[in-house]
Symmetry: C2
Subunit: 223 residues, 2 copies
Amino acid sequence: MTIDNPTPRSRLRRIPERGRYDRETIDAVLDAGFLCHVGYICDGQPYVTPTLYWRQGDHVYWHGARASRMLRTLEQGADVCLTVALADGFVLARSAFHHSINYRSVMLFGTAEAVTGEHVKAAALEDFMERLFPGRWRELRPITRQELNATTVLRLPITEGSAKIRTGPPKDDDEDCTWPVWAGVLPVQTTLGVPLPADGMPTETSEPNYLQCLPHLNLGHPK
Amino acid sequence: MTIDNPTPRSRLRRIPERGRYDRETIDAVLDAGFLCHVGYICDGQPYVTPTLYWRQGDHVYWHGARASRMLRTLEQGADVCLTVALADGFVLARSAFHHSINYRSVMLFGTAEAVTGEHVKAAALEDFMERLFPGRWRELRPITRQELNATTVLRLPITEGSAKIRTGPPKDDDEDCTWPVWAGVLPVQTTLGVPLPADGMPTETSEPNYLQCLPHLNLGHPK
């Protein structure tokens, strides 16, 4: 399945061979991350707000306090550009010019809509929690109506956008390849650290499995 | 030293106690990261472009191919919002509502200017390289005039913006603190992976120290 692409705003201009427009690639990048950057215009000024997100089916979701400027602006139908970028490694070439970075990124365009209705909104928040911490939602103190009312959930359809991916070694000019300097890829990765328990937990509280690995994100402790 | 803050666009509205406007805090966040998200408006549409950046003195710099839409738009004086966000940990509370994330972020506003002049531009690129990989610049095949001409370097003064930081444990409602579920912080961290050497290196090429740790970023291999 490909999305309605490329459009004038989603078509890659620079290094178009890195661009992908199929949902399988786009979804794989979205599902590997948890932090996006939401771009929007308010009073003629561009803003870029970092926030957590999750994908469910054909939409990307995010949420926040109802009073948020970003959420209030987008709820009213402002154009949004939602970007996810995952850094995978520094690419060290023999010349400064050919240095690069290995990355996976997605840029989505469109207008967001609010997820409304108590049950639908609660189900969306449950999806978010379960994606990160499987089994946690039902163990929590249940969400209240007041808490739901204070929370805005937005979603953006995955219908216009692109993925951009760089992988592999440096691409040096042929005549540079014997230059006596180390070249290659220095990977970077995101890993979990040692969990820090809160004060006051009942002593019999057990450590859930997701403290060792967030399975959906494939995010674990360093080996 | 504080910056000219807060202005209407840089003042934090949501959870203002997380906001900081002093240069020491802002610079520390900027210096701990390498990937920013640049927001700008082109033909009325917001775009958010991920790119590498570096700080030198009172400016944040970034660069790219001269043909880049983002760089061409910003070079002409368009308003920019440059955001850096570093995720430090998932904050797991006893209620869904009080879940959060520990993070350090900076949002800067203003207009960028092009760094021009061959020597000045080369010096800026050398700063960028040396910040990541100390000692590497002088070991590389020297940059050519053509490569410099094909590269745009922009900089944004650090004069308007804010940092926003969350640290510490979950802030549960008092009556929830004995709820029998694990609560605390699950740290996330960025670490280096095992270097992947490129094909064709002369056999006597030694591994530089920065493959073990990028000292400026305090980014090393997992312990």
